[in-house]
Chain length 297, copies 5
Amino acid sequence: MLLEKRIPASYIFNKIKKDLVIIIFIGICAHFLSSAFIENIPEMPGNIPAFLGTAITVLLSFKISQSYDRWWEARKVWGAIVNDSRSFVIQLQSFLQDASNPVIKLMGYRQIAWCYSLGRTLRGLNPLEGLDEYLKEKDLLYITDHKNKPLAIAQLNALTIKNLYQTNEIDTFKHIQLDSTLVRMVDSMGKAERINGTVFPKTYRLFLHFAIYLFVITLSISLREIPLIFELPLLIVLSSVFLLLEKTAYHLQDPFRNRPSDTSVTAIARTIEINIKQLLNEPDIPEPVQPNGFYIL
Amino acid sequence: MLLEKRIPASYIFNKIKKDLVIIIFIGICAHFLSSAFIENIPEMPGNIPAFLGTAITVLLSFKISQSYDRWWEARKVWGAIVNDSRSFVIQLQSFLQDASNPVIKLMGYRQIAWCYSLGRTLRGLNPLEGLDEYLKEKDLLYITDHKNKPLAIAQLNALTIKNLYQTNEIDTFKHIQLDSTLVRMVDSMGKAERINGTVFPKTYRLFLHFAIYLFVITLSISLREIPLIFELPLLIVLSSVFLLLEKTAYHLQDPFRNRPSDTSVTAIARTIEINIKQLLNEPDIPEPVQPNGFYIL
Amino acid sequence: MLLEKRIPASYIFNKIKKDLVIIIFIGICAHFLSSAFIENIPEMPGNIPAFLGTAITVLLSFKISQSYDRWWEARKVWGAIVNDSRSFVIQLQSFLQDASNPVIKLMGYRQIAWCYSLGRTLRGLNPLEGLDEYLKEKDLLYITDHKNKPLAIAQLNALTIKNLYQTNEIDTFKHIQLDSTLVRMVDSMGKAERINGTVFPKTYRLFLHFAIYLFVITLSISLREIPLIFELPLLIVLSSVFLLLEKTAYHLQDPFRNRPSDTSVTAIARTIEINIKQLLNEPDIPEPVQPNGFYIL
Amino acid sequence: MLLEKRIPASYIFNKIKKDLVIIIFIGICAHFLSSAFIENIPEMPGNIPAFLGTAITVLLSFKISQSYDRWWEARKVWGAIVNDSRSFVIQLQSFLQDASNPVIKLMGYRQIAWCYSLGRTLRGLNPLEGLDEYLKEKDLLYITDHKNKPLAIAQLNALTIKNLYQTNEIDTFKHIQLDSTLVRMVDSMGKAERINGTVFPKTYRLFLHFAIYLFVITLSISLREIPLIFELPLLIVLSSVFLLLEKTAYHLQDPFRNRPSDTSVTAIARTIEINIKQLLNEPDIPEPVQPNGFYIL
Amino acid sequence: MLLEKRIPASYIFNKIKKDLVIIIFIGICAHFLSSAFIENIPEMPGNIPAFLGTAITVLLSFKISQSYDRWWEARKVWGAIVNDSRSFVIQLQSFLQDASNPVIKLMGYRQIAWCYSLGRTLRGLNPLEGLDEYLKEKDLLYITDHKNKPLAIAQLNALTIKNLYQTNEIDTFKHIQLDSTLVRMVDSMGKAERINGTVFPKTYRLFLHFAIYLFVITLSISLREIPLIFELPLLIVLSSVFLLLEKTAYHLQDPFRNRPSDTSVTAIARTIEINIKQLLNEPDIPEPVQPNGFYIL
């Protein structure tokens, strides 16, 4: 997540440098071709690039809106994970006879492991890394065989809850209430996977880029009588606004890609760890994740 | 679902070739007619096609937005099916005395069959194909008589759960909790059918096409003094942007039509199969569905 | 619901013929008045109608969006009715000791009657017509006295379920679970009534029409030097696009008015009838409702 | 709620007369000042008011959209109140041993009182007026001391339900199910209060008005060579469209202000009264609220 | 929350004074540079700033829309807190044998403390201030050690409810129903934290500012032949509209920052205090929070 800090110009420039080179190339070509054949090529009416620019803005605005919604939905899903993780531990403490039953700590730590491994799975990193701090040897071994590690951790918690029921630690009603909490967490996991795995309609982006190039070409032709030294900066700044906004949208729409604009899943998982450990009255509470310059992951 | 890969130009061109022919025909007619009667027909003010173009963009933007929402809702419904399928098996394992009770496998496999047959029903394919791998002979026979196969499979699972209750395998509370999961799956099925069966307001598309033709005609008249060789490419690229975006919207709004832009229900059903089989500790886990070039179905 | 079929031109033309007559009248008046007093009336700057046209498009786009949302919400409500009707019968079969208990058929048929009578009530038709096929004499008599027939049918089912509880056919938990399903259906009924009974902000439509007339007048004045024979078609086609889109929105926003663009409640109720009868293993399954030319009701 | 009837011109004119006077004053001033100093003041480029007009439309469209959402949410909340009121009575009849237990009527009538007093509270009217018809003397006395009357009525129903549980009329499960219905009604009450008590971002409206005045000034300057007799009507009609739409939005966003565009809470409460009394088989059913000319409250 | 009162000009002016200075500086520079090199620098076509202005409006409109949604969501979350706080006390009174059990007051007061401390935490103020009025010494001590004070208060209530269950004051079903209410409150808390802790995509704002500066520069160049005395006011008022709207959006998107446009969490917490104390029949009911001039916090 980008923070309310000064964002380095290099970060912004890097986002669009490739596209800018293409734009400059197209702009120069269009300029020289239309100047060379100035007598053959008729004048481009000025309102054609203007109308194209408006059209691109409207379409861009739709794209930003949908991308923002995906990004916000991803953040909501992780917010729900925070809430359900907290509620899960409070429920265990409230439902079990003995609030200091070690099984509460076992399941609380599994919940922490679930959050970290889900975050790493979504980002395509090794989901097992660092889990030995939270999981028993046996659990770790069990989930290693599974393709979907977080799902396996959820299954382990479900079976432990079943055990609590079979040993009469909880009654069937509390079994069901805890099951509902687990169902909500499996839902959140699936929602994050859905956002991560669904490609935003590819062609839309293609046609938007096509429209931006068209804008540059028509603008370049309509300004062909202006010296290149004045025309080019105008082409560059105008198309930069479009390209930067398009790129912002593009990054927002996939919030689990190890990029500065990602949903800060590691920081959120750490918050959950802090909350759960405090609810368990654990002695060592870790520090929150620190920002990485202008962003936090 | 289209993937983040190079999309063949032929795929894109095929989408709009019919409409392009009409556009070219209209453009040429308008050009020649207005040139022939250049002295009779007054000049077309340049801001009329420009305003029309802006209007089309705004209306197109609304259409893309609604179509995207349908497509995203379809994906959400299938995401919910993933979540509920996983939860269903975990619930069975947590609720039944014996986590290795063969009835869990029976119902888990029925759930896999439900996903595949729902996907095939939505796409208008034979919903029974390949189900013999997951369903018992008797079940297969029962659902053959039903018009709505997935509904019949859901009914079978409901009756098996009832049986578990009547043989005291589960108590009435767990019966109800499992029933709630079934209700959610019947809901998801109905939602997918609703998206599939509801035609997007037809007239809207008609009037949008009408506006695009009008745009071409007015633009063609207002540019009649420009030689056809320069006018035609401009007409084609400008209207292509509109047509391509309109087509993208059109394909998004019906995501179960066996098209590359479809919701990838087969791949999702396979994911569910993999997850359920791993939760059941089955030995043979199938591979995920492989992309079909630039898309996955 | 309009289908993916050729829509007769007469249907479209009928939608706007009244408004078109007004537009033509206004256009001709404005033309002659401004031509007659051409020396007194100053020129209309061309960007005033263009800006008005853009403004109308933006406002129209908002209206279409909200109207579409109402239409889609209406469809969702009826989708929920489909889902809950199916789930209701499956729940009864799963909850009652004997899955062939005649009370299941009694309540299933009442549910079918509820769907048909709700659809007819919403459309302002006689809600009792054809219900004798699904309701017992006594039930029919009871609901005749009620102002709100579907509500009375829901009450009958609630009392039958109570009876099942009092005769120990179901326990209190299943009583409550069935009650939740009934509550959802009463909710759906109320939602459909809300959409049907809430007038879309009237003044909005008024001011939009006012803006369209203003557009025609300013355009007509600004084109006064063009012969009427060329000006009038342009006025007609441009304002037709606005009027047709406005009318489409107007029809979408009230989806229970016995119009071709209605939500197809009769066809949906028939689907429910087919599903319920198949779940009950009834011998005679009716055919789906057939389209009425280019639409289905 | 405004009905589908002819709306008196006076109602519409009254909405904007104050603002129109300001507009006319500004228009005349700008006209004379810029004409007087015509040699000193340079020409205003025509596309500045045009661009401002488009900008106002876009911003207005956002405002209408959000205001409409508030208005529609208010209507949804009252729709939910209708549904839960009906369900509440049906639940009581289904849950109590004896469907003719007088406590059902007591609570049903309290529910009617709750609806009327909530509607009157939201509109800032005396919430106790007319409640003696539905509440017992003792209840009326109890709620008089409360600042929030509908909340006190809800508390009374909760305590009566508790009594039913303590006298074994209902078991703990039905107690909880009825409690859930009460919770939903307390939610609806809070939602309506939230819409009523939250001021729409004030500054937004301010800046929009500022932009409209700016539009009038720039348009007036750019048209200064046109005689005032032609310029003024144009200024008035163009700004009227903006002002009327802004006012429509302004009225929609606060739907409980005793205005014709209000959510028709009295009529809805009456519908609830009719439904509840019919479910209770009461002999005297009141008539629906009649429209008050072109609107219903 | 800003009230429906006269907003001091100083408040509005302070919002944008920094940006205005930059705008004026840029405007003057662009004016003089382009005037100085008037023969070298070609003319800026008038429709480039006009198109840029339209583009900024469209993008601004998206930003206002998303910011408004955050603000409205924050208000909804606090509305849900109001509803659940009321329901919580009514549930306790309805579920406990003795409605005057002192534990109800204990938990009701904790709930008040929870609301105040959550509001203060969100605003970055000392969350313990003033809580001694509502919390027992021991509770206050317990939560002091916690990083997340409101979470600790929720945990305390959960453990008290467990105690009620262990002493047979409530049965397991009512334990679960109260737990569900607590879960909803933990959800609301997490949602408010999410809105507070998620930075609105930073780059978006940056690029919007960049576009506004670009607008000023291009407009300034295109108007360079107009004397600075007329050009500057036009630049200032046009960019002021943009800057004020952008600032409004910026303030709406972070509604817990101790600013006049904040969600009025203190006033809402006071309303909850009044409601809970009246439900508990407490003798001393505090007054509602009074507005602070043109706003309420």
